[in-house]
Subunit: 406 residues, 4 copies
């Protein structure tokens, strides 16, 4: 269904070509300062049409708070948000009415419901994620103010280009600034510019730059290792030229998460995070801490030994666990990665079948992302916030319930 969470409950609605995307978030504590501006920043990070490597749809996505706040403060009552749809070009999707896009939800929506939105996959559209970002941002603000929690996510690979291991923590500003390149005129002798440094398309640094080389081509990769970002950007441009698409992985780190969050058994922290991440369109995998690589370690290598005690809590130097033990936060950073497949809607010709079973060739028209990962960053952050917020409320109730804590 379209509801997520128990203590902080988000409910969303909206197809990509309906009047708008709607979200109601219930359970947000009262007395938090909140305006549309607080939400808009993250929403804008999610927006397509920001750079040459994402879709050129300029959807704007201006959020309206319909209720639940007054004079800039939350009332404790449900907050409803509306992001009207604009710039709708339904004709773009016309052909998909008879030909289900391979790898897309056109087919399964038709089978499931016996009816289908003209825009194809209905609720499977990336546009649905606006509601996640809008609501997640509210929770993230509370988590930050109440606990000092920081949630930062970045692109850690694009296709087979992987960011080398290095710093395990970045700030959101670093992700956005280091991950933002300016494409240069080929005649300049360099291909990309970022933070005062010039790069060749293979990620190496170069200093030979001719004059008059700046283009308007801003590329958001959101990979804070600039050499890797350059290589990803370059490959995405090639893929885009081929009317194809490309996948990758994102990494997310949550800092300052209090110990004790996450519920035993079915609602372990990592179980809820995995649920949240695999609910994001185009995701194919989730791993926490050591993840799949950790299956090759011995227990004696994998176990994070307790090494010192700080403010009453035991700390470890390593973090193979990824921030939880038995599904409950340990006070270490929560670290996880999400696998994102290449987007299924591509311009490249595909030999497939129409709904009737007749052979046909599909070349998708319209505006499609060759590489959605930079846009996924705020979505992953927001879904993470929804999970942490829900578990925080649950544990706050428990702590306040214990007699000894009175």
């Amino acid at each position: 269904m379209s509801t997520f969470g128990t203590y902080i409950k988000v409910t969303t609605a909206g197809e990509s070509h309906a009047k708008g995307i709607v979200a109601i978030i219930d359970g947000i504590p009262p007395q938090i300062s909140l305006t549309e501006k607080d939400i808009q920043t993250q929403l804008t990070r999610r927006r397509p049409g920001q750079s040459s490597i994402t879709t050129s749809r300029d959807e704007k996505d201006a959020v309206q708070i319909l209720c639940g706040t007054e004079n800039g403060y939350t009332l404790g009552t449900p907050i409803a948000l509306l992001v009207p749809n604009r710039n709708i070009r339904p004709l773009d999707y016309k052909k998909t009415n008879s030909i289900p896009r391979p790898g897309h939800a056109d087919y399964t929506y038709q089978i499931k419901y016996g009816i289908r939105a003209s825009s194809g996959g209905g609720r499977s559209s990336a546009r649905e994620t606006i509601a996640r970002v809008a609501t997640g941002t509210i929770v993230e603000k509370w988590l930050s103010e109440r606990f000092g929690i920081e949630i930062v996510c970045w692109v850690s690979s694009g296709g087979d280009i992987r960011m080398p291991h290095g710093r395990a923590r970045w700030t959101r500003d670093e992700v956005d600034s280091l991950g933002t390149l300016t494409a240069l005129d080929p005649a300049s002798g360099a291909d990309y510019f970022c933070e005062g440094i010039f790069y060749k398309s293979d990620g190496t640094v170069t200093n030979s730059v001719d004059s008059k080389w700046f283009t308007d081509d801003i590329i958001h990769v959101r990979c804070p290792d600039t050499p890797t970002a350059v290589k990803i950007a370059h490959t995405v441009k090639q893929v885009k030229g081929e009317c194809d698409s490309m996948g990758g992985t994102v990494t997310c780190v949550c800092k300052n998460v209090p110990t004790g969050m996450g519920e035993p058994c079915f609602d372990k922290m990592e179980a809820l995070l995995a649920h949240a991440m695999l609910s994001i369109p185009a995701t194919k995998g989730f791993e926490i801490g050591s993840g799949f690589a950790g299956t090759r370690l011995r227990g004696s290598e994998h176990n994070d030994l307790f090494v010192h005690k700080e403010d009453g809590f035991l700390k470890t130097d390593t973090n193979h666990a990824g921030g939880t033990l038995g599904g409950i936060t340990s006070g270490q950073d929560i670290v996880f990665r999400v696998a994102v497949k290449p987007v299924s809607t591509i311009g490249k010709a595909q030999e497939t079948l129409d709904f009737e079973g007749n052979a046909t060739v599909l070349e998708a028209k319209g505006r499609h992302d060759p590489y959605v990962l930079p846009r996924l960053i705020p979505i992953v952050e927001s879904m993470t916030a929804l999970v942490l917020g829900d578990m925080a409320m649950c544990q706050l109730a428990r702590s306040a319930a214990i007699l000894e804590n009175m």
Copy 2:
């Protein structure tokens, strides 16, 4: 919390050293034939003490149906199950009362609740999974009888030994029989025997076997590629000798799943499966279809093209999607993998801290699994059944609700 599912709802309770493990499953349709025997088979597959590579605790795990059936049929009312705990040796865990086991939930349970079961991690014990298997088996029986769904899971890697690609489908019998080895006397010239063939410890076939070589040492690996199983078994024995532990991955395939199951947005089929899998103790990752490897493909490579129509449904030859499109089952097999870390409780000495923060050395006593993956097989199957059952009920309601289908 300890409740899973909406339409078919499972609630469990029980620490590893309490009187027993209890489960209530609500929403099971009436008139299904069901006896304790139906449940016991899977429960026994989960049981420790079956082979030389799992813990030697012989817990028996005899299930009792307390209510919800009569004369061997379900009544439609909630079914309660009890598996009494036996063979409890609390003293084994005594030292962990002051020293939290690294990588284990001892520490986080203490912080979360301010109190802790003497057995350590309380609900994080593997024993809790009995309730999952007992209830999942009931749902699996219904899914099989109502839809012909088959759910089969096997070990696909142990440490860094990976099963080579090959058949994508196995039967449960093949998993159990091909994955079961007999260890031979070293003097025999071969190390393992399985299904009439003799193997060396590196997985190669050998025919030179001396007489009088059989031991009683039965090893359940549940990896149906026997050469791989042999290599895993051999490594596990080494690891066990070092009082250490080892991880691996399991692969699960669900056949004959009807199209249209799974809910848009937050309750996509893969989201619920990921939730279910990451709720199993010791799991660190989940991937469906192409998973993390699929992030390196282009969209044109990754998309599964529709190639023929059969019984009204479009079919594909490839299955990178892993059985869902937009979170809704497409009629292809559901295929996913789960990463399992090495068990944290090991006999090997670990330099760590006690709860007070004092440096100490922990050598866990008692009965511990060096390699839990074979025991995880029925747990993964059962959690998969709980997810599929829940989504099946949801879609049955919808189909029956549509006016046209009346």
Copy 3:
């Protein structure tokens, strides 16, 4: 929280002086014809300002379907509805910022949240019920088309004026037409006119009517026994003159409800109906079938004897049970009554305290209903539909799940 239902789930938001009232309904089957017009009819019945005995606020309440339908049909995805707020006069409520209205939620909202909407009781406003009516109407349409269910509710008492026992069933048209009076000029010799008959204010019929007596004063009582309606209308006018308010009861009957709906134990049909009814503002009681009066009968009098079999179902002549046995619908009409207290916001002076505890006198200004019961009729019908719809989906899933029914 602001979410109701499991299989059909309604989530609402909106204070009375926010931008609007928002509702999302999830789980509505696809392929149902649905336009704003279908919803508007019930919404208009709920609207204040329709007659001289309800508040003169003319709020219009024009509903917009934001998503979830296309070309006049439901898509199976969540439907979001928006009813913008208009004609807002926040100054009317100014004094209640410092003086909590006795009997109203001003006080408890302030205590609960430490903050309060300027309109006073926030989500306790009658305006919140718009979302209930808008969504309930959609479910009611489906229940009617899928099962032929009819839900009709009427005013059965106003203050101490009770409708005499008589017909147990009315149509919605009869409730609206018989319950609608035209007030006459006192000089006419009669006081009210309804369906061709003239009445004195005590409910007796009179034929002596002078000319030129019609006023524009239309009074909706929604009590289909016209003599009772006349007496209620007359009393409400007196009460209104005194700046006071008056309560009453409503009766609801659901016809053609299939047998087998309602879940054992905690989710009995009457339990969910009671939950739904007591969640409506100003309600103080619920009784089903014989209700409180039934407590004075003997079992042998109360039991509804089975008297004939029809279409495979056993039928009774009496209906003390009110349509359920053991919480499960029996095929008899569901009959229940709801107690509604006099509205708390009154113009009459009240000696009370301000938030600081200082003695003060409160005379509420603004537009208030002296008698809300006629407006509650569509709200009770809609909440009933939400309960029946949820239980219907639950039982449809079960029936479709039983092997024998395949």
Copy 4:
């Protein structure tokens, strides 16, 4: 379904002739002292066979805590409880296999599930309520220790005998002791004895008592106004002699409930209480505060004026609201009443139909209660505790979440 509550979640199972009644309660805070003895007291109050006016089945109902506690303290993990069934005489119910008892769930269970427990109405049996009492008692203990909340319920009418208005509050001891009569030998000159006073069967006090008049006939009415209790007891005896049954009402008062509990809109405190009460077998109505009688008052009479401020909270002298405003607790006592119909299973001959539709006469054999109200007292108290506990956790989380409260 068989699960109740969100933050504190109770799940129950068990038919009246299964192996036992099982309950799991999840969400109970850790570190609360809890033994089986704490639960047994309330469970024993619920037990039949205690007096001459309830069924003579001596079921014992000894509760076992299976898990969730250790050394007499809760662990914070789910607590499972088992009450084995004993003294089962299935033959008593044989005839109901072909004849559905009028007013009973035999008929609806058969229609709903197409199968039925041999004991008839399956989960509609009064025996199911054991699980409610066992779990509710745990929550009640926590509410008492954490907030000082007291929940006391008593019989306020039996048939048409109503307790006169008087004290609005009683202790549980007064309910049990004043409501417990000893029946005397008719020759004694008095009929009943209670707390040192002798009564005639019409409730009047008499002092003329002969010697040797004591019988062993202990009658628990749980109506703390002894003259009323005497009249009820006497009438129940007559009803029992006629193999018939009798209904009544119970009143419940909750003291020391903190302000701010209960959620706006759908989960108002009174909505959840009504849900809980109407889920108890044999209940037909619920009213809070002024209830149905309050519908006859004017707003100016009904509103509870704020009259003084105490410890920061405004207080009222009257309590027509019954302890909530807008569904949120106001700090006044919560006061509500529940209507209980006469039990449907009676020995008296009833002319009815069998399942086939053939006319027949049913005279129920076996042990049946002529008057269940005294046994309902602990059930109402326990269900009240479950509601208050759930709402308390919800509000504790909110309070702890507010930044200002840090």
